[in-house]
Amino acid sequence: MRRLLQRRENQLAAIIILVVGLITLRAPVFLSMGSIDTIMTDGAILTMMALVQMLAILTRGIDLSVSANMALTGMVVALLSKDHPEMAVTATIVLALGLGLLLGAINGVMIAYVGIPPIVVTLGTMSIYRGLVFQVSGGAWVNAQQMGSAFIAFPTTRLLGLTAIVWIAAVMVAAIYLFLNHVRKGRELYALGGNPTAARYVGINNTHNQMLVYSLIGLVSGLCGYLWVARYAVAYTEIALGFELQTVAACVIGGVSMAGGRGTVLGCVLGSVFLVIIFNALPIINVSPFWQLAISGAVILAAVVLNSRSERSKGKLILKSAQLAAVRGTA
């Protein structure tokens, strides 16, 4: 039992079950099908974005431009839908993926090829992309009546009872899990983040991997930009403002190390689920939504403090007795 609880993912899962239990005691409606459906649909975008954010953090980077990318891509496809309401959803998705990829690749080039620290590049492109949303829209809103009906309907189309957005997220979780655990490039990201010097010694190319990571983040941000705009049926300049910090928060809560090289898909998904549950539970248990921000801040801090315990380097094991104890502990 104690061994089981030592794994961070298990701890987090236990906490989630506990929180859900407490909320349900207070408001049984929380565990209704409708409520669960909303949580899953709301959580899908955060989960996807947290997963790609994790790719950046694993390689000792960060991408602060994700929400601006989402807003810009979302606004562009919304404007297109406004002018061409009959546009096919597949075309919209391809466009969103393409534009997102382009924006991500710009980050990638600056980080991988020019060699500017990720935080600086994405801080800059965050401002630029957000400003461009205003430029393309002229500061105006695109509302539900102006968008095509298929455009809006797609994310919440149901297949086998679940919304399309949930299916997309599920596929993405599976894909990123496979990528990080069973694909060479994925493992190389862990190696790069864990020890860049050693990675160089075994010939892992940092440039290509960074380019790949930031392009992938862009690709997924583009898709999520469309899904966000369509799900909430509105596009405006401030859309998803500050969302980049939620993605980082989900990673931190899920045990992804900001120092790089450490983090799992399961942890990251649980981190996202935890945040979404908290946010969705507040109105149900009659807490003002104005508490949302402070709670997420407190949760991040708690996670940071808890992580620090497991990450503290304990020094080498030199004494034979200490080595034996360690081997017994892990066996």
Partner: protein, 334 residues
């Protein structure tokens, strides 16, 4: 790297002649900033006849004085290789405190002290967590960024505090001699203090040492954690000061006040020549950078460019400022 190659005895690259020393001045980042600033001023005076009016110029400083104060202490934090993303949220927290305390009947001087105290405490929370748990500043301040502004939302919701003592507005709206805004004077005084602190004291030396190599700094007996703690505390204190000035200037407190300032402040520091990875930077550089941003915003305002376009320009300048030297170096190398 145990096999350190020996120095070539004849090649002493740093043995500079007088001419090279003069060249070095032109290569300095501060010199480039002066050129950029001059170009902006020339552009502005062509764009609008109102630019070269002393009253207008001094007036324009008000729009950036609060951010400029934050830039000073943020520069120190970035030089030690950390970052504080929570400054804007500390402003919201302090602003809310000031707004609430004003409704409780506090006088203007009391409000100033209260704001600075709240800011200092918030900075201590940041520094305390970072040092006690040895966790990266960026994660901690992402957390407190939500927490501090979140508290402000809990207190205010969608409301605002807007009743203050009568003389409160003088702080942010008053002028010395009818011309120079008090805020600008506060900034100038602090700029001198910070410049002396960084470049002329033992603490400044320790800060550079820490930023370049925290381990070697620690081995040299520098109390690395103590300095980190106090720098975050000072940053909070500056945010408290900026908050009371800002509240006074706009005459109201809302939970979304100063939203996004942290990134503008970081961008200004980086454009001022402070390496985001720590270890180098100068106060004159970041002070010039403040004026570059300030005059640019002012100029764009004169020609009626919307404020959001400024964010695009900020972003481009940030990336351009860092990318240009790197690209030039890469191209000049065969």
């Amino acid at each position: 790297m145990s096999s350190l190659p020996r120095l070539f005895p004849a090649s002493d690259a740093t043995k500079g002649t007088e001419k090279m020393r003069i060249m070095a001045v032109f290569k300095r980042w501060e010199f480039i900033l002066v050129l950029i600033l001059a170009a902006i001023c020339v552009f502005n005076s062509f764009a609008s006849p109102y630019f070269l009016d002393l009253h207008n110029l001094f007036d324009s400083t008000q729009s950036f004085s609060e951010k400029a104060i934050l830039v000073l202490s943020m520069a120190l934090i970035i030089i030690i290789g950390d970052i504080d993303l929570s400054v804007a949220s500390i402003i919201a927290l302090c602003g809310t405190a000031v707004g609430w305390l004003a409704t409780q009947g506090m006088t203007t001087p009391q409000l100033v002290v209260a704001s600075v105290i709240v800011g200092t405490l918030a900075g201590m929370v940041n520094g305390g967590i970072i040092v006690r748990f040895q966790v990266p500043a960026i994660v901690v301040t992402i957390g407190t960024m939500s927490l501090f502004r979140g508290i402000s939302y809990i207190i205010l919701g969608d409301q605002a505090f807007s009743s203050f003592p009568d003389d409160f507005s003088d702080l942010g709206q008053g002028y010395l001699g009818g011309m120079i805004p008090y805020e600008f004077i506060v900034y100038l005084v602090l700029a001198v203090v910070f410049a002396v602190f960084l470049h002329r004291t033992t603490y400044g030396r320790s800060i550079f040492a820490m930023g370049n190599n925290p381990q070697a700094a620690m081995y040299s007996g520098i109390k690395v954690d103590t300095i980190r703690f106090w720098l975050f505390t000072v940053n909070g204190m500056m945010a408290g000061l900026a908050a009371v000035l800002f509240t006074s200037r706009i005459g109201a407190t809302r939970p979304n006040m100063a939203l996004g300032w942290e990134l503008e402040v970081v961008a200004t520091v980086v454009l001022g020549g402070v390496a985001i990875t720590g270890g180098s930077g100068t106060m004159p550089g970041v002070i010039l950078s403040v004026f570059v941003f300030g005059m640019l915003t002012f100029g764009l305002g004169l020609v009626n460019v919307p404020g959001i376009i400024m964010t695009i320009i900020t972003g481009c300048m940030l990336i351009g400022a860092i990318a240009t030297p790197i690209i030039v170096r890469k191209l000049s190398r065969p």
